[in-house]
Each structure stands twice: as C-alpha cells, then as structure tokens.
Symmetry: C2
Subunit: 252 residues, 2 copies
C-alpha cells in the first residue's frame, strides 16, 4: 500500500491474511512493515497468518502508514523460520529499506562482498543484499535522484528476473518500487470513493464513509484483493514507482 | 533476558511495562526484541508502554526466546517518534544485532563514515552505528572470537561512557553484552526455583511450577524488577557477557 495520507490497512489485510492458510497455501510465515515517517514497524511471524496472534493484532489495531509492505510465504528456498520471513529490512543512506519477493531465483549465488550479508537462507534475502550492495557501490554517500535510482533498480531487477520469477516490492518509506516478472496488479482508490468487497472474505467496506476528498491510496497485490474494483495488471519487466498513492515515472 | 532454553518474558515484562508511564516516567515510547535462532522479532511503539496495544500483545503472547532486549524511553535527544525508539537493529557479519541504551551522551558527534548511518536523531543510535562501524573496521569479514570481540567492545564502551551515562544492552542472539556506567542489576534464576514478586505490580509467579531442573535465566535491569530475590549490582565500567543464562568472561 502506498498513500498520500497515513491510512490503515485493516480492510486489505483481512483478505490478504486469509491467503496464509485459508483461501491459499502460503502458510510458511508472514510479515508486514509499516513506515511511519522515518521509523518502521516490522512484524514477522513464522506461523501461518491465518492462526497468528500477531496477525490478529494487525487486523484490529489501525496503524496508520503511508507505505506498507506485507508478505505471506510459501517456502521454496530456506526452511520455515523467522529468519526467512519477508519483508526483510536493512538500512541504507540513513533510511530503512524494506523488501518482499514473490517468486524463486534458481542458481542465484551472488558474490556478496559488501556490508549486507543474508541472515537466513532464502534467494530473496540474497537478492535484497545484492541490490543494496549495488546501490551503495553506485551511490556511496547519499541517495541519488529518483530517476537515477529508478534506472539502476530497473537494471538490477531485470538481471534478477533472468534467474527466475521476481515479483517484488521495495520501499524506503518515501517511494514504493514495484517490479513485475509474472503477476502483480494495482488499484488506485480516490474520490469518488465507493464500496469494496473482498475476494477472500465476505467483507465489504464503504470507503466513502471513511475517507476525505483528497485521500488517495494505491494497493498493489499479486492477485486482486477485491472483486468489484478495476485492477490493472502490471506488465512483465516493468518497474513502477508509487508515491502519494499513484504510479509516477512509470514509462520505461 | 538471556537464557539457556527459550523462555517467555511475560512475568518480567508486566513489571517492566508499568515503568512506561505508571510507576515510572519513561513514557516516550518503548520496544522489545526477541531473538529466535537467527531471526529476530522487533516490536517498537512510540506510545507509552502502559497504554500500548502492542505491549498488551507482548504481555499475553508467550514468545519464547533465549535473548530478549526491552527498553522504555524517556526522551533526552531526539523527538518522540518511532525512529527514535530503542532497541535499534542492524545486520553485521550475517547476524542481526540489537542495541538499547539508558543514559545520555553529550557532545557526541562521531564521524560516521561506514555503512551504518542513523535513521533517527538520538545519541544512542549514533553510538550503535559507530560501535558497528568500529567492529567492521576491526573484523571486516567475519565475527572474531568472543574474547577479541569483548576486548574491542570494552574499549568502545569505555570511550562512549566518557561522553556521559552509557548503560547498554547489546545482543546478536548468541551473547548478551551488558555495560554499566551508573546502574544495572542482574539476577540468575536457576534450580531450586522459588516464587518471585514484582516491585511494580502486585504479581507473584512461582517459577518452580513453570520450569525444569536445567533451566537457567538471567534477567538484567536498570533497577531490580522483583523485591524478594537477590539482585547483583554491576560495577561501573564493567562489561559482562551473558550466555546460557550466566555471566561468562566477566573478569576485566
């Protein structure tokens, strides 16, 4: 989720959470990261989201954030364990960066010579560490312009996707980068707001009653979370950058 | 807390939590980190612990861990905000490191030239970043022996404490390093277990009913959490290393 004003994710999380063992088979752990200005709350659990006390808290406690990344895991590489749950978090240029990956990179054994070393055993965390290492090599001292950052990320992610499926979400709390290899969909909710109904749970929320005229919220998901809204499929090989609830700099 | 078997911290956390706005004035946020093998769960909140829904979860959900670091904040440097809540977390040598500081370092403006940059505005996070930078400079590729690590940490922490009060806790999930400038106390609970009564809440737990003969748990706190057990004050300038619920390598 990427928004122009701090927004809670309770509605979307209800449907998302069901995919962690109820309506889908991603039951090998889950996690969610909420940026609040520079700070970041990261909840991780190696229990299925459908039976996690921490997921219950997240459903009920409306944490307001402008950038949220959530992930439910179906283990491919790396055992079921807390250290292998996404999103992963590291610090670069004095910002926290948070990363989640859907897919599987095969024969991906990068030479990680920089300060970012994986703690767990997933291909995903290796990819994240290499990505940060390359960003630091390209821009050692401070964050570059968004356009430069996007160009380097596009190159990195194109290479990663040559190793296998690499659908990913990446955020520093300011931007949400979204790269698609096979499937990712997005939706922008803005005025006039309407009611939305979840795919995975019989729950409807009328956003008109909960929003103000200026609110804008982008939701990005592998598979659409609602069945009565118009989701856009992201093209394979495309890197989108979301800020303030809309894609920007999206032409590549 | 440092233990030889994964243990929940629910009892100690009840008393600790009360100090975040009820029996003490540390109401500017709080946090707690639980290591589970290589993984780490970090809960942070800029609300007082006494009124935090996340603290309620932590009280009730018995997360079992061998190394836990918790902190309640009274802001000295840096505003009240999530980015300034302890414990702080970074990765070094493929392990997560978690750090919490009690005290205040004055005129502490280190030259942070390495990969660890503060996200928030506290003296504490600067100290943590410098500490990791120096460890990386001394041991660029991998974790050294515990004795070498302890020696360098002792030097670093002695220097930090020349800038002001520097009581701190530091863990990589394997060891818990404890440095005292002014006040820190510890307690080792082991067989024969007895009942313990909190200072801050009228709660008693009979550990004999909850433990096995081999369990050993060290609790370290600024001020003792219980009033019927024998706490040991740590001497100023001393760095203790806890493993498996007891101090090791403690002679300096």
């Amino acid at each position: 989720m990427n928004c122009n004003v701090p927004t809670d994710i309770c509605f979307s999380f209800e449907g998302f959470c069901a995919r962690g063992g109820k309506t889908d088979e991603h039951r090998d752990g889950w996690g969610i990261a909420f940026f609040e200005d520079l700070g970041c709350r990261l909840f991780l659990d190696d229990n299925p989201s459908i039976s996690s006390p921490i997921a219950e808290l997240v459903k009920k406690y409306p944490i307001k954030s402008r950038n949220v990344i959530a992930h439910i895991r179906k283990a491919t590489q790396g055992e079921v364990g807390l250290e292998n749950c996404h999103p992963f978090q590291r610090e670069l240029w004095g910002n926290y960066w948070v990363f989640a990956h859907n897919g599987n990179l095969e024969n991906f054994e990068p030479n990680l010579i920089g300060p970012y070393q994986p703690v767990g055993a997933t291909d995903s965390e290796k990819a994240f560490c290499l990505l940060l290492q390359i960003l630091r090599e390209n821009f050692p001292n401070s964050k570059p312009s968004l356009e430069k950052l996007r160009q380097v990320l596009q190159t990195i992610m194109d290479i990663f996707s040559s190793y296998g499926i690499f659908n990913c979400l990446l955020s520093n709390g300011e931007y949400l980068f979204v790269y698609c290899t096979t499937q990712l969909h997005y939706l922008v909710r803005q005025a006039p707001f309407a009611a939305a109904h979840l795919v995975d749970e019989d729950i409807t929320v009328d956003f008109q009653a909960l929003t103000s005229q200026e609110d804008r919220v982008a939701i990005i998901a592998t598979i659409p979370l609602t069945d009565n809204e118009s989701w856009t499929a992201i093209a394979p090989g495309k890197l989108l950058v979301f800020q303030d609830g809309i894609p920007i700099l999206s032409e590549t």
